[in-house]
Symmetry: C2
Subunit: 345 residues, 2 copies
């Protein structure tokens, strides 16, 4: 239910209250407008800076916060939606850091005005020429996200960069930065947006909602990808993992595929990996055979001193190998199962 007020800007300029949009009820599945309500709220007095909001940005992560699954605290019913925005300081208890008239960015909230604490906002340090919308988009937090992700992935010229949710701000910036850095860029989006996306320099574009998506992904990545910038998780991530090049890096940045769902997806929950800034590394021992001397230098002293011990379950005779192997696969072995072949027929 949206309550509309006429002439509320003049009211905001003089009164001790502000219009704000609050959570009316937690969305189930896709959010609806009736999950929100516009109300008039007293400004209160708690906070360092009174900010007049000029622009608000719509971010998918708010959906996760509404569900109580984000890093930031959950949004409760009746609370102002804590969306990102830019605004101007209209009153300040920290005038040196936040002088009246200066610009700030942060989770200002869906409201006209509000008192905010200093730790929730940052002063703008943008060149004057950059318009406010760009400060909230390509040159703001989503752009920084794309840039930081490509840096973390160590994208190099000539590599193949795959991007999901390629039509979002993060995806679009990642794609164009990737091209500028000399990568071959493959984008994934919904079929409805592919035509519009074709103007943004992608080397290939794929519809995730096409019935042959998995086949087409393989055709677009004949030798796999080096970097996957993943904003969606779910089945698209799963399909992408079929095309990892050796040494590929996957940046887990968002899980839009599951934002609207109350169900936890099947299998390992990689959303936790994002929240923890964790990393998962595939290990194949063959890559380390050349390090055997360094390995022995560390473990041999431990082995000699008895600090390193592994029980051995020894079977005598080649013909025992199948039995030994089957027992191992039934989980019956502690330590190492070995077969002594020579001299034990």
């Amino acid at each position: 239910m949206i309550v509309r007020y006429a002439n509320h800007t003049s009211l905001a300029a003089v009164s001790d209250s502000s219009l704000a949009i609050v959570l009316r009820r937690s969305p189930r599945g896709l959010p609806e407008e009736s999950d929100f309500a516009m109300v008039e709220q007293p400004l209160g007095e708690a906070g360092d800076v009174l900010v007049a909001v000029e622009w608000l940005a719509m971010d998918p992560y708010l959906r996760v916060q509404l569900a109580g699954r984000h890093l930031a605290p959950p949004i409760k019913e009746g609370e102002v939606i804590p969306g990102q925005g830019v605004g101007r300081v209209v009153a300040s208890r920290l005038p040196e850091r936040f002088p009246v008239g200066s610009w700030v960015v942060g989770a200002l909230g869906w409201r006209e005005r509000g008192w905010l604490f200093a730790d929730a906002i940052l002063p703008f340090r943008f060149p004057e020429e950059v318009p406010l919308p760009a400060r909230l988009g390509a040159l703001g937090m989503p752009g920084l996200t794309a840039w930081a992700g490509l840096n973390k992935a160590g994208l190099r010229a000539g590599e193949v960069l795959l991007i999901s949710a390629a039509s979002g701000t993060v995806g679009l910036v990642a794609a164009q930065l990737g091209k500028a850095r000399g990568a071959w860029v493959v984008g994934i989006s919904s079929a409805a947006k592919l035509e519009a996306l074709s103007a943004f320099g992608f080397d290939a574009l794929l519809a995730r909602d096409h019935p042959d998506f998995r086949i087409r992904l393989g055709e677009a990545l004949p030798s796999g990808f080096d970097v996957y910038f993943d904003n969606v998780g779910g089945s698209v991530l799963d399909a992408a993992l079929d095309h990892l090049r050796r040494g590929a890096r996957v940046i887990l940045c968002g899980m839009i595929a599951q934002y609207n769902s109350d169900e936890r997806p099947a299998g390992p929950n990689l959303g936790r990996v994002i929240a923890a800034r964790a990393s998962l590394h595939g290990l194949v021992v063959y890559d380390h055979l050349g390090e055997h001397e360094a390995f022995l230098a560390e473990v041999l002293p431990l082995w000699r001193s008895g600090q390193l011990r592994v029980p051995e379950q020894i079977h005598r005779g080649l013909e025992q190998a199948p039995r030994a192997f089957c027992a191992l696969m039934r989980g019956e072995v502690l330590g190492r199962a070995l077969v002594e072949v020579a001299g034990h027929a």
Copy 2:
């Protein structure tokens, strides 16, 4: 079906044939002894070195190779099982690299003797004091696997190290090396092995087959883990991901949980991450807010030149925010959705 031969060692020493264990039929689920057969085979002439096998090691990865899902080529019916072993060179066409009487290690195969190519074997460089079984275990490939994994994870003193399949050779070496490096080590194994494992210095041990495993894992990791050495995948990996500390590293080394299954597990297939030596990294933009100047230094020139563009969908008036957000979550936005608040009541 195992065919037993009497007195075959003397036969092997003189004849042009060797006893060998071949795959009789591809196992379904848990392998059974009847999936293998012992046969007498001609030695043939192809190869650089004739090796007499002395010891064979039983490795879980062979199960994956039997299913045709390993990095190494699948094992076909009628082929010798290509298990790891140590043996002695009894004839050599490369006598400088592999003199007769010298030791070699590699996938020698489940057989008494066989011709092998030089690229499939390595000469031993072990101190004489190390007995052959240890060369195939704690001080061999599984030990190297554990050591390389802890190195890749960058385990530091004082960190919490979690290990699955803690009763296997890789797990036991990882645990004892972890203790030697000053970590707090938590092991996961089947309940049947916990008592025997208690002699190996673990700080805590957990039964993965206990009905309260997930609860107990949380109790054993009150502030999470820094490094998880994962040998099993599946539901244990999934449970572990609930306890990632910030900046945690997961080493994906094996997926025993799914080795005996023909079914592909639900969710993202992390087995591919192992094969590709790939890495997955969680990204949270908040960690990068301090890099904003460096970000602008790269993107602002691109933005100025028009190489970086993001379409903006601008809504006028605070009351439009719910509509703008709901459209975003329905996937209807290309680029950035913004609400202009000031001056648009």
